[in-house]
């Protein structure tokens, strides 16, 4: 990142000319494209610097069209009233897994643009995010995107927004972020409809919110701040009130989206600082930053740090890659404090890490980044949730890994996390979705209709959701249902540990906690799946599911009967050798359990349930 001193760094900006806002939307509804348009129009970047979706920095974000990390940019906009405004946009992740990032980004703003796809309408994520904006007392203004599509139905979608969310959508701005249609109306709406920051006191002791932080290879840790009171200047010694750590401020600036130094940041402004902070982990998001020699008397309430809720083991396919994996997870953690890991050793898979994630998407993304950015081949074990074990001796333990489950005789109760799930679906798919939720031990709490769309609310054990619930939901609704959830509470459940034995050897990576009522069916299903997924060997292989010492299901994989090339002469040698190379490469992707080789894909595939 290069830095230039800005010519705009003149007098302090009047509060009334600042607008801090977020964009909330469902995945694919065009949030990032809109953000890019705003940047382009406000001249933040020259045309040649505009790459598609500037704010999605990571390759993965761009490819999947999702935002993971909150991004921020300061825009300068000369409004039709003739005044120049400073617009601070904080682009937030759209997915439920990153609800925590969303909440803290929203708390730095006063208003939100609610972007809804005019052909798709309101989705579950739209709801979840908009409710968060409402909780943060945001002024919300609606933008209907993709108005250029033939399938766009702005009137229907407006009615839906009013009915489902309860927002007045009559003055929604109709745009196409893709073509650029209506973008200037969006800017006018931001200026006219969204409020300026609440009046802070520029002369009061410094009080700033630590909104986010990330690691930059050249500059070290960059901290995003929102000033409440006082002024933040270069050379000041600041104090993080949560950790009591002190740092001299090296640089103060704004992101435009290049980093541009400014003399100071005042109330209502959003900007960055660098201060020789070594690790992202040294900065607590939500912390209050104050001046060391003149601290504020009332720090901000702060945030509760995000807790990982889904865990899985990640192991290198090739044991020799363990050190590479260790350094890769360390690097990812530098920028993602919500991702946790600790070393784990598995009888079957060797050395690896037990990793904690905010949710399944987070898991998938981290896994993909490890494989792609660090060129690692990984085996992921069954995702599991964190169970609380109430022991007979009165103690309590957190179980992150089913393989670590203690002797059942010592356990009094097992508690599992439950979620509150919201599902929006065209009503024609309601039947199968109700059945899916029911099969997953769901408890229906609400069912309402908005036109032909049903909104379902369910309490569900998270444990049932990590097993391909989302895939199943998408498949039975042909992709039309949307889903979002929030962690609710822990509840006692009749759970048992289901172990899988292949050729008599337990495969720890496949063990899982399941509800007793589902154990036999799940065990049978796992046996059948594994029978399909494990290639035939030169001997027959029993595959069993067991609870404790009790085998509850069994399949036998018969021995390979015939596998031989009929013709192989001189002209075939090269081709057969290349086939053998493929076979050898395939074998490297296998894991040896006793005498049995199990393909690594089997670990994930085995857990995908079907009807």
């Amino acid at each position: 990142m290069s830095t230039v001193q800005t010519s705009r760094d003149k007098a302090p900006i009047a509060l009334s000319k600042i607008r801090n806002f977020s964009i909330v939307a469902h995945i694919d509804h065009g949030k990032s494209t809109l953000a890019d348009r705003l940047i382009q129009i406000c001249g933040g970047l020259a045309d040649r610097e505009m790459s598609e979706q500037v704010l999605d920095n990571m390759e993965i974000e761009r490819e999947r069209g999702i935002t993971i990390k909150a991004q921020t940019v300061r825009l300068y906009y000369k409004a039709k009233d003739g005044d120049e405004y400073v617009l601070n946009l904080i682009d937030t992740p759209g997915h439920v897994d990153f609800a925590y990032e969303v909440s803290r980004s929203l708390s730095a703003c006063e208003g939100s643009l609610l972007v809804v796809d005019a052909s798709q309408g309101v989705e579950a994520q739209t709801l979840a995010n908009v409710y968060q904006a409402i909780e943060n007392d945001h002024e919300i203004t609606t933008v209907l995107n993709k108005i250029d599509l033939p399938a766009a139905e702005p009137e229907r979608v407006k009615a839906q927004i009013e009915e489902v969310i309860g927002l007045d959508a009559s003055d929604a701005v109709e745009i196409s972020a893709k073509t650029g249609l209506g973008i200037s109306d969006v800017l006018e709406t931001i200026v006219n409809k969204l409020p300026p920051p609440h009046g802070g006191d520029a002369d009061a002791p410094l009080k700033a919110l630590l909104v986010d932080s990330w690691y930059d290879a050249y500059l070290g840790v960059i901290v995003l701040v929102r000033i409440i009171d006082g002024r933040l200047k270069k050379g000041q010694t600041i104090r993080m009130m949560g950790t009591d750590a002190k740092y001299p401020v090296d640089r103060v600036g704004v992101i435009s989206p290049k980093l541009i130094d400014v003399k100071s940041l005042g109330p209502g402004e959003i900007g960055f600082i660098t201060a020789s902070i070594k690790e992202v982990a040294d900065t607590r998001v939500g912390d209050t930053i104050t001046e060391d020699k003149r601290p504020t008397a009332d720090p901000l309430p702060g945030f509760k740090p995000a807790q990982p809720v889904v865990f899985c083991g990640l192991f290198p396919v090739d044991a020799a890659d363990f050190e590479d994996l260790r350094s890769a997870v360390g690097k990812l953690r530098l920028n993602d404090a919500s991702f946790s890991f600790e070393m784990e050793s598995s009888a079957a898979l060797g050395f690896g890490f037990r990793c904690g994630f905010l949710g399944l998407l987070h898991l998938e993304i981290i896994q993909e980044r490890l494989e792609r950015e660090f060129d690692l081949d990984l085996i992921a074990t069954a995702p599991s949730v964190v169970y609380t074990l109430k022991m007979r001796d009165g103690s309590e333990m957190q179980l992150h890994n089913p393989a670590d489950m203690p002797d059942v005789m010592k356990i009094d109760e097992i508690h599992e996390p439950w979620i509150k799930a919201t599902i929006l679906t065209p009503d024609e798919y309601l039947g199968p979705i109700l059945k899916l939720c029911q099969d997953r031990r769901g408890i229906q709490t609400n069912l309402t209709y908005a036109g032909p769309r049903a909104m379902l609310e369910y309490d569900l054990p998270l444990n049932e959701v990590v097993f391909d619930f989302y895939d199943r939901l998408k498949s039975i609704s042909r992709g039309y249902a949307s889903f979002d959830y929030q962690l609710a509470d822990y509840r006692a459940g009749d759970l048992v540990k289901l172990s899988m034995l292949v050729n008599g050897d337990p495969v720890d990576a496949l063990s899982m906690l399941v509800h007793r009522s589902a154990a036999e069916a799940r065990g049978r299903q796992m046996c059948e799946k594994l029978k399909e997924l494990i290639p035939r060997h030169m001997f027959k292989i029993p595959i069993q599911a067991a609870i404790g010492g009790n085998v509850i299901a069994r399949e036998t994989l018969s021995a390979l009967r015939k596998d031989v090339t009929a013709k192989c002469y001189g002209g075939d040698a090269s081709r057969k050798r290349k086939l053998l190379d493929k076979q050898k490469a395939g074998k490297k992707k296998m894991r040896q359990f006793g005498k049995v080789e199990i393909p690594q894909t089997a670990f994930i595939e085995a857990l995908k349930m079907s009807d």
Partner: protein, 400 residues
């Protein structure tokens, strides 16, 4: 026949040495068979296609001349005309090529010179002329002794013609082999038994018995994928294979290779060179070769399209599009892939010496435990009858 005044060397005749072969690929066919994925091309024209054979003969001469520079000191123990359909070659073309080979290399007096031939009457008429050029062994693409099955396999000859061709071949050449394809759709054990026994009564000294396999890029592949052609499942195919072993062995034609059966000392010397990882020159469109030089074993592969091969040879003296050294691992893999196909097994000591790599004793012992391989008293590693049935898996285990 060309001048063969060279002294007899006795290599691979058969003393267990790999020998040194020359493979000549004639890429043209009168029609493509729906199961065949070989490098064969149909060129329309009267009597065997619109191919100017003299130009091809000259190109073979040039290419063989080029190859001889890479391995001139070898003694040729076998020559093999494969295809395509080499019996579409005019005898003069065959003679031209054989004369070229004799000019370039020492050719063993006992060299096996094989030609693949179709059993149609047109081609049978040329057998005597081929014999006169020096061809001493013929391998007939009979494929079936049942007219309906021949039609299904897209063959242009009848069972009657096949039997006549076998008869003429037996009288014309010193040695004769023919091919059959079995494990065809719906083929029962009883049907195959009677067809195979009839074939054995035709007194070939060598039989190649192949199970029908569905190869990518063939019409059968498309039919199979669309579910319009089904071949026996693994269990049925295994039973057919086991029956084949039993019948041929009891009639004095035991398998010396997965799909090849011979009376004692009637094994195909040329093919043994492949399976024993010996060297051979590959000439003609799409031909592959292996040549050992001071710095390693080289693989060669030629341009597949006949006209382009011809052009390349005319331009640069050879049609090779690939010519590079095999790594020790690749050489080792080929030794396993080829050597374990033989009843005589693989010379473990040679494998270690040439690859600098020892086969994993733990894997050998596991495979021995499963009854898949055995170590013979002479130290060779051999796949058992059971091991042959799953040889691809056995090899993958040993090579991994």
């Amino acid at each position: 026949m060309a001048d063969i005044s060279h002294p007899m060397t006795g290599r691979n005749n058969d003393d267990g040495t790999p020998g040194f072969g020359i493979y000549v690929h004639w890429p043209f066919c009168a029609a493509k068979c729906p199961y065949c994925d070989f490098n064969s091309h149909v060129r329309q024209g009267p009597n065997g296609g619109g191919v100017d054979q003299r130009r091809y003969a000259q190109a073979f001469e040039r290419e063989l001349g080029h190859m001889a520079q890479l391995c001139a000191s070898e003694t040729v123990t076998s020559i093999f005309f494969g295809g395509g359909t080499p019996s579409l070659m005019e005898p003069a073309t065959v003679e031209h090529i054989l004369r070229t080979i004799h000019d370039l290399w020492l050719v063993d007096e006992q060299a096996e010179i094989t030609m693949e031939a179709n059993p149609s009457s047109v081609e049978t008429e040329r057998f005597r002329a081929y014999r006169a050029t020096g061809v001493n062994r013929v391998s007939l693409g009979v494929q079936s002794l049942d007219d309906a099955q021949l039609k299904f396999l897209g063959r242009l000859h009848s069972a009657e013609e096949a039997k006549a061709a076998i008869d003429i071949a037996r009288k014309t050449f010193e040695r004769m082999s023919f091919d059959l394809i079995y494990a065809r759709p719906q083929q029962t054990l009883a049907q195959w038994r009677s067809e195979l026994e009839e074939a054995i009564r035709l007194s070939a000294d060598h039989l190649s018995l192949y199970q029908l396999t569905i190869e990518q890029g063939t019409p059968f592949f498309d039919l199979h994928r669309k579910g319009k052609l089904s071949i026996p499942d693994a269990e049925n195919a295994a039973q057919l294979y086991e029956l084949t072993q039993e019948i041929t062995a009891s009639h004095g034609l035991p398998a010396y290779e997965i799909s090849n059966h011979a009376k004692p000392r009637q094994e195909s010397r040329h093919n043994l060179t492949y399976w024993r990882s010996g060297d051979w020159v590959g000439a003609g469109p799409g031909a592959h070769g292996r040549l050992t030089r001071a710095d390693g074993r080289y693989t060669t592969a030629n341009e597949r399209v006949p006209e382009r091969w011809l052009e390349a040879v005319n331009r640069s003296g050879h049609g090779m599009v690939e010519h590079h050294a095999l790594s020790l691992e690749e050489h080792g893999d080929e030794m396993l892939l080829m050597g374990l196909r033989l009843r005589e097994g693989l010379e473990v000591e040679r494998y270690s010496r040439e690859t600098g790599h020892e086969l994993d004793p733990a894997r050998i012992s596991d495979l021995t435990g499963h009854g898949m391989v055995e170590i013979l008293p002479n130290g060779r590693l051999r796949a058992t009858a059971g091991g042959w049935l799953v040889l691809d898996a056995v090899i993958a285990d040993l090579a991994a």
